[in-house]
């Protein structure tokens, strides 16, 4: 039952985007998230759409998967669109009832916002689609390593994330086992109301907690046996090296942001 849970959203592949340095992917995604809010005209937004399509093409992620990722954000888009439709009153009024008015300006803005959010979600989820959680953690550790100056324990945070990722499947397996054991002794976990079901979960959670603490203790011993002493003086087997594709990714991103800013001056804002 719990086996169906996928870890992260990683979608295995061999595309350029998959092979890209995780640091560059992280930085580019961060820039992209900001860049999506630059354009104020449909022309600018069209460039964002084209950029997202280009990125999807680079990642070789099937369109179906991308469409599926829309599902959870549909309510958000609907709500923001509705608010925008009724909130903005400009242009010709198309429909009016009590305090609700729909105007061309409102529709225009709502559409603009919806497309913008879609681009934002698709663009940023491409990163998690093409990067394994391990590579992501590794990339984060390195991108944020300058923060060490401010006494942020970057390595320790990354280590915790790695261990958490490592133990998710183990703990899921354990939960399954405990649930089977409790069911074998007559525990009923599938019927009853919500509060009853939550209560039925307590005999699963307590042994799970106890065993997690035991595991944590043993893991700490094992790590100490392997000379772990924090991030200081540690080397890494896998060195991240910037390659041609990483430099081109930076170049493409720079051009993209430049064009977006230029569009602000060339095309008048629609809103």
């Amino acid at each position: 039952m719990i086996n169906g849970i996928a870890l992260g959203q990683y979608f295995p592949g061999q595309s350029v985007m998959h092979k890209m340095d995780p640091r560059i992917k992280l930085i580019n995604t961060f820039i992209f998230i900001i860049a999506v809010f630059i354009p104020q005209s449909w022309a600018g937004l069209l460039m964002v759409i084209l950029f997202v399509l280009f990125s999807i093409n680079c990642s070789k992620i099937p369109g179906k998967t991308i469409l599926k990722s829309f599902k959870p954000i549909i309510p958000i888009i609907l709500i923001t669109s509705l608010i925008n439709v009724f909130y903005t009153q400009s242009g010709t009024i198309l429909w009016k009832w009590w305090i609700f008015t729909i105007s061309t300006g409102g529709l225009n803005k709502a559409g603009f916002m919806a497309v913008r959010i879609l681009c934002l979600i698709v663009g940023s989820s491409l990163m998690t689609y093409t990067t394994t959680p391990t590579a992501l953690t590794d990339g984060m550790e390195r991108v944020f390593s300058p923060l060490k100056v401010f006494h942020v324990h970057v390595h320790e945070l990354a280590m915790m994330m790695t261990i958490a990722l490592r133990f998710i499947p183990t703990l899921i397996e354990e939960t399954d086992k405990i649930m089977s054991a409790q069911k074998a002794r007559g525990a009923d976990m599938e019927s009853g109301g919500l509060s009853q079901r939550i209560k039925a979960f307590i005999p699963v959670l307590i042994p799970l907690f106890v065993s997690s603490f035991r595991r944590a203790y043993e893991l700490a011993t094992a790590m100490e046996c392997r000379c772990y002493h924090g991030g200081e003086g540690r080397t890494r087997m896998k060195q991240l090296k910037m390659q041609g594709r990483d430099y081109s990714a930076i170049a493409v991103m720079t051009v993209f942001v430049g064009l977006l800013i230029a569009s602000l001056f060339v095309v008048p804002p629609v809103l």
Partner: protein, 281 residues
């Protein structure tokens, strides 16, 4: 290699009387030897193992690893680099989500240069026969495979001695065989000093030397043949002997004279066959 001199250890509680785990242990582990440490649950064998790499410090006496005293804090690093400890549960020893990165964890902590880590990781994985799984996720491996990865993780630190604390206790017979074969190979072909803590007699019989512990003390010490010939003594500390040894002992009790020190099925068959030949004549 490892020298324990009058080692004692107790857990001290402020209000209760101390719990004595080890009492005046004297033990020397020779370089290149394969020592099995046997004992009933709670006899202190795991506690002793943790003394070998300075995870625990003796409350009395000294433990010397390559003449380094485990009490010196600044030597702890070198000691753990020399004596690698593999624990019982393979699941709780693996740190990373990818096999090869897990094996790299030890050398990374030691600050080994990247290219050399790569080399060490590949070598260690080949020695334990897990090279083709280097990009797998640990949770997809079987128990025996996970334990072999854990051993590789220690080997990549290039220790001189491997201490294994019941490495096969949580494994199925297949996994147990895999791990034991790996350990034997390391000892015979790589010259690794091995201390195997176990409560399986069949595993202990494969060692050069068997040390039996009981209630925090060393009870018996000798070659497998010497130790397992003392069937009655072993029984008295609730330990079994290998099945062939037990069979021969019972036959001896029934008045059939058989040589002492039979450990394997083959030896047992041979002894019985020669016995029958004598009769036939």
């Amino acid at each position: 290699m490892i020298e324990a001199q009058h080692v004692s250890f107790e857990y001290r509680n402020p209000e209760e009387p101390p719990i004595v785990v080890l009492k005046d242990i004297n033990l020397t582990i020779e370089r290149g030897s394969f020592v099995a440490l046997l004992g009933h649950n709670g006899c202190g064998k795991s506690t002793l193992a943790k003394h070998f790499n300075a995870m625990l410090l003796p409350t009395g006496g000294t433990v010397l690893v390559e003449s380094m005293d485990t009490k010196e804090e600044e030597k702890a690093f070198d000691i753990r680099k020399t004596v690698g400890l593999v624990l019982q549960n393979p699941d709780n020893q693996l740190v990373s989500t990818i096999v090869e990165e897990d094996v790299a964890f030890g050398p990374e902590n030691l600050g080994v240069p990247p290219q050399e880590i790569r080399q060490r990781v590949d070598d260690a994985l080949k020695v334990v026969g897990m090279y083709e799984y280097k990009n797998s996720a640990p949770h997809k491996l079987s128990g025996g495979q996970k334990q072999r990865v854990a051993i590789a993780g220690i080997l990549a630190m290039q220790p001189d001695c491997l201490v294994l604390d019941e490495p096969t206790a949580m494994l199925d017979p297949q996994g147990r065989k895999e791990v034991l074969d790996t350990i034997q190979d390391l000892n015979k072909n790589q010259g690794m000093t091995v201390v195997l803590i176990t409560h399986y007699m069949e595993e202990a019989a494969k060692a050069d030397r068997v040390v039996v512990m009981n209630d925090g003390e060393i009870w018996l010490d000798g070659t497998p043949k010497e130790v397992f010939s003392k069937v009655k003594e072993l029984r008295s500390v609730e330990l079994d002997v290998p099945q062939p040894t037990e069979l021969c002992d019972r036959l001896r009790d029934a008045g059939i004279s058989l040589p002492e020190g039979i450990l394997t099925t083959e030896e047992c068959i041979e002894a019985l066959a020669s016995r029958m030949e004598v009769r036939a004549e």
